[in-house]
Amino acid sequence: MKKLVSLLLVLALCLGAMVGCGEKAAEKTEDVAKESTEAVEASTDEGTEAETEAVEEVSYDEDQVYRFRDGSEVTGFNPLLNTTGPDNGVANYILETLVTSVANKDDLAETRPAACERWEVSDDGLTYTFYIREDAVWNDGVKVTANDFEFTYRTMATPEVASSNAWLFDGIIENFGDALYGENGVKPEDIGVKALDENTLEIKLVKPYSYFLDLLEGAKPVREDKWNEFGSEYGTAPEKMVTNGPFKVEEWEQNVQMVLVASENYWNNENNIIKRLERKIIVDSPVAAQSLIMGEIDDLGLREPELIQMVEAEGDRFYKVESESRAPEFYSFNAANKYFKNAKIRTAFMLGYDREKYAEFILEGKAKAIYSMIPNNISVGAELYTTRVNGENEIVKTLSEQYPDPKELLIEGLKEEGLDPDPANMEVKLATRGTSEFSKRSSEWQIQQWKQTLGVDVKIDMMEWNVMWDRVDAGEYDIATAGWGPYYNDPNGLLSIYHPVNGYFNSDKTGWVGEDADRFGQLLDQAADEPDLQKRAELYLEAEKILVGTAIISPTYLSVRPVFVADYLKEYRVNPHVNTTDWTDFYTQGRQN
């Protein structure tokens, strides 16, 4: 008995010792905090003096570090094989392709030269010539050449490599698709990417795609000698690759933390302010919110209202930035279904719910109702699409005014198809894109709306996201809860998915055939060939009038996520079209943790 008690005491003491370790760390941070508050106070005094001299003096913190969270670990560092969301995020830090897009001071997406110093486009828009920077080097000191990019594209076009991003360039770069699918005897060496000399790269396109530069980030470079040296293990560890980006991986503790430091060989390293990145894996949102408040990370996007409240209660420590998505959420109707082959029935369903209420109730204001397939932040060239077409793309609004009673429209459609004109007898299923609380709430709200406005009893078919996409592929659905994120900043990124022949949702999956579908495909093909941007925008509008106008899809909302940023992070911007931060601009000032 005594022995048992003493054993328990020993264990309790051990626990206490470990808790002590934590306490010491807390004490240490407090001391540092005191020091830097004094430093900040001192610099503010200097600052006021400096202001009167009309010279702007920014006092940068001595250690420029940025700590952030990702919910998932990367699957690897191989830019040709590892292309999931988290992979792309890290690839943007350690690798650099020909151009990059950042948010400028007006928070607009701007394409800037990166590995190249300038580029030229031929008059017909088919030939791009990139001039590689003289001082661009890989992190081991070897110069970055046009041959590296030529090798990268050729490797992507090699079928055995099975590169997961290769499909982006199919139909864009000359001969790329043929080489990738092994058709017409075309080899990877025959694709339209040629290194004219060490510093000049020429790419030939199939059509004058104005958004071609946006696609380039999907092909981050690898170097031939290292690719051959490491073979299938290229990119499986930081030592097994070469990088040419502003940062390099210093430490990688899988599923815990990745530390990246500024790469001394990077051509613009002197102008980049942040010198160290700490990427922490925190899966649970509540834990992430706690980490933010405890100062373990510097920024965080949040969705859950109770967590948002928790962070807002911290007052001035964090400021809020709204991040608007460029990926519309919409319902997709199966045009092979006996009801949804009729445009009036589809339109009735499209008009039969209140998008503003959806954004308010289900998403608690973290969303914007949309009335067009194309979000307002998408551009054609340098101007916004919606400006170019004078807002005529808000087709759902126009149709609501035209058909104030969706139920009547529905009954008309049912009669046209020779079906039972009583909406209550319809058998329709709504496939959800997940089984979470959110999926349940939103789908239940949705069927209630349709019941109220149309008198239809839609049944919910609950399933995981990958199962839903499988069903869509097989054409086994009535209504699907779809969404799509465009790969580049152009309406084609969204409209092309419904191209009846080569879209992701082609006729086989959507059942959309006939005159309308053909005309839609034609308009998209025409727009692809049209170098004049205004005419192109108008062609897209015509196409949308068919796609949304006949309600093949029903656009619903765009998510808007609040991002909480620590007050010491400056020049912080969120723009859905950029692929990386402007490191010459972004910095920390007044960090105390």
Binding site: L8, M18, V19, C21, N78, E160, S232, E233, G235, K280
Partner: protein, 311 residues
């Protein structure tokens, strides 16, 4: 004894083979596509190129035999589809020890504290101590471990700032996960130990020892303790196998790079090779632990040992 061990090992290998086969066919039949997680929304043609690389376009029996051949000749569970260029073996080698570290510490706590509490409750049966312990046990068993984890994170980590809320690498990172892991187990061991001790207390040899004038402490230590341990040994065996797996939920909450998280991710990504590799690993551990338990019985209870060698 040797024959006994060999027989059990042989049986174990057969069990393993059956498990691998069943898992292969079950996960191939389940909906979900490993390619889907790769570049999310890729046209069909491009997907086929990738399928060809991993042999996913072959008929299922061909894939099965190819897999077995690879496994037997190289001992390699195959290249992961999600984590390109790496095998399940590498992940097991790297992450099993991490799960194990937390698991072993938690198990120690569970066994030691659980047994102690169980004995105390049994000896003080009917008194206040017993009731308190029993209520705590019921609570600890019913409340899921992740609820405890969340409470611990919130109060000890976040509100009182005693230890970090998540992460890995420093000794302070062990505190919350180990406590969260241990709570449920302490309760189980306490419960079983209590009932086991109670059944031993009424045995004849205990009454004899007391009648002979043995001190209560000596009776408890020498006679009751060892005889009550058998159910505990039964539980501990598989528990040791379980610690390598780690609890997925707790690993996720505390951002611990353990094996459990890879397992769940592999299943949701339909990463066949990873799922098979990890399942085979757990199966192997479980089988081994059962054999070890059998042998340990013999050590704890001489009657079993004699009974076996008499055969």
């Amino acid at each position: 004894m040797l024959k006994f061990i060999l027989k059990r090992v042989g049986f174990g290998v057969f069990t393993l083979f059956v498990i691998i086969t069943l898992t292969f066919f079950i996960i191939s039949a389940a909906p979900g596509d490993p390619i889907a997680s790769k570049a999310e929304l890729m046209p069909e043609k491009a997907q086929e190129v990738i399928r060809a690389k991993y042999g996913l376009d072959e008929p299922i029996l061909t894939r099965y035999f190819l897999y077995l051949k690879n496994l037997i000749t190289t001992g390699d569970f195959g290249e992961s589809i999600t984590y390109t260029g790496r095998t399940a073996n590498q992940y097991i080698a790297k992450n099993a020890p991490i799960s194990a570290k937390i698991g072993i510490m938690a198990l120690l706590f569970q066994v030691v504290i659980g047994i102690a509490l169980g004995m105390v409750a049994a000896l003080k049966r009917g008194k206040v101590t017993d009731h308190v312990i029993r209520v705590c046990v019921v609570l600890a068993i019913c409340i899921p471990s992740f609820v405890f984890a969340a409470l611990l994170q919130y109060y000890i980590g976040f509100k009182w700032r005693l230890v970090p809320v998540q992460g890995w690498g420093k000794p302070s990172h062990y505190v919350l996960p180990v406590i969260a892991f241990a709570v449920g187990g302490i309760a189980s061991y306490a419960k079983y130990m209590r009932s086991s001790v109670l059944s031993v207390v009424s045995e004849d040899y205990i009454v004899t020892a007391k009648a002979k004038g043995c001190m209560p402490g000596r009776v408890a230590r020498k006679h009751m303790f060892r005889n009550s341990l058998l159910p505990i040994v039964t539980m501990t065996g598989p528990a040791i196998a379980g610690i390598f797996g780690g609890s997925f939920i707790l690993e996720k909450m505390f951002s611990i790079p353990g094996l459990g998280r890879y397992y769940i991710k592999a299943v949701s990504d339909s990463d066949y090779t990873m799922v098979l590799g990890l399942t085979a690993f757990y199966a192997m551990l479980y089988v081994v632990s059962l054999i070890v338990v059998d042998i340990t019985y013999g050590l704890v209870d001489p009657r079993i040992r004699i009974g076996k060698s008499a055969k």
